[in-house]
């Protein structure tokens, strides 16, 4: 019972203070590893690898993993691991859930305020820039090797080719309307084929 209360308290705190999502929960989790026997720094690095290789928001993946391990290490049962995972994940989501409900209510009330629409009129272009920065952080490290010794080695050739092919495929008329999932599946297959033939 104590473990559940600890998880609620700790993950509610992380959910409340880790703004910006994803990896921003990492320092908090590493603090947990220092404090409690059920989480170790080794588990954390494994957790990051697992979270990045499975779908879903990173923060959620990590909370589920840490919660599961807490229950599993303490009680030695996978079933109880699922209950502690649920506790940790729900506690992580709760603060932002409540805050967003409040913000949504306020947004509804002030939707027609001139100040709010003036603020959003410049916010939208800026968010487009932020999204471009996120795109760059994903694609930059995949396509280029920034720590390469020579100029030639800085370009990852198979990745650049797949990128160019997919840029064309996603923008030609009949394919443009396909669900993003189709392209993700296509890229996964290409990834496997290239991995086993040419090598990445």
């Amino acid at each position: 019972m104590m473990l559940y209360l600890t998880l609620i308290f700790e993950f509610f705190k992380i959910g409340l203070f880790a703004a910006g999502g994803g990896l921003s929960t990492l320092p908090f989790l590493s603090e947990l590893a220092d404090k409690y026997p059920w989480l170790t720094q080794d588990m954390i690095s494994q957790m990051v690898a697992l979270s990045e290789s499975t779908p879903g928001p990173l923060g959620i993946n990590m909370a589920t993993y840490a919660g599961y391990m807490a229950g599993y290490e303490t009680f030695g049962s996978p079933i109880l691991g699922v209950t502690t995972a649920l506790t940790a994940t729900a506690s992580l989501v709760a603060p932002s859930f409540i805050i967003i409900l409040i913000v949504a209510k306020m947004l509804d009330r002030y939707k027609n305020s001139r100040f709010v629409s003036a603020a959003f009129s410049t916010l939208r272009p800026a968010v487009a820039g932020l999204i471009a920065a996120a795109a760059w952080s994903v694609i930059g490290t995949v396509l280029f090797n920034f720590s390469a010794a020579t100029f030639g080695e800085a370009f990852r050739i198979p990745e650049l080719i797949l990128f160019a092919v997919m840029m064309v495929l996603t923008n030609i008329k009949p394919l443009k309307k396909l669900h993003p999932l189709v392209f993700i599946a296509f890229a996964a297959v290409c990834g496997i084929v290239i991995g086993y033939t040419v090598g990445w």
Partner: protein, 202 residues
């Protein structure tokens, strides 16, 4: 796209399954969801407009929590109140939850399996392509004046440059969002005072 102005009741089941799809097929979290959100919530169903989606992202940037989850909460709340928010939030979280529990219980070294690594390598390229396409569309549709282009470029440079050049500091997107909002309000106040002073020149 004003379809979401007059809202007909969206079924809770539809909200749940749409967000489950989004949660199940987003790799990389956060902004990587944008193309999926666009398809599921704007183009396919008209649940929200492009503008609303961007506003949610801006707000999600400044409030604690996972952006993907925040956006889900917003969309659910808009259509079916608190119950809707619970349903969309649960929907976006559920796939992660199940996948992580199963993999942790059964396969300790999932991330080290070659097939998984290779597939993910390809998926990362696809995610980049999809986000870039979304950005191109956003820039074409949402930016209408010179100030908009300047702000978008500035936001990009401020956030991307320190990371790429491995500079010893980072600029949090929170400051970019707050800064952009302040600029918008200042611009409104300046236009107002000009109108007052100028009187005649419309």
């Amino acid at each position: 796209m004003e379809t979401s102005e007059k809202t007909e009741r969206v079924s809770l089941f539809k909200l749940f399954t749409a967000f489950m799809r989004i949660g199940a097929f987003t790799f990389g979290g956060g902004y990587a969801m944008l193309p999926m959100l666009e398809r599921e919530c704007v183009e396919k169903t008209g649940w929200v407009t492009h503008d609303e989606l961007l506003d949610y992202f801006a707000i999600g940037q400044c409030t604690p929590g996972v952006i993907a989850v925040n956006t889900a909460t917003f969309v659910g709340k808009k259509h079916r109140g608190i119950l809707g928010a619970l349903v969309t939030t649960a929907g976006v979280v559920l796939p992660s939850f199940v996948i992580i529990c199963v993999l942790t219980a059964l396969l300790a070294n999932f991330a080290d399996i070659p097939v998984v690594k290779y597939a993910l390598h390809g998926i990362h390229v696809a995610v980049g392509v999809l986000i870039i396409n979304t950005v191109i569309k956003l820039v074409k549709e949402k930016i209408k004046d010179a100030l908009g282009y300047v702000l978008a470029a500035l936001a990009f440079v401020l956030v991307a440059l320190p990371v790429t050049l491995k500079l010893p500091f980072r600029i949090s997107p929170v400051f970019v969002v707050i800064g952009a909002a302040v600029i918008g309000i200042v611009r409104m106040l300046i236009t107002d005072s000009r109108k007052k002073r100028g009187g005649g020149d419309k």
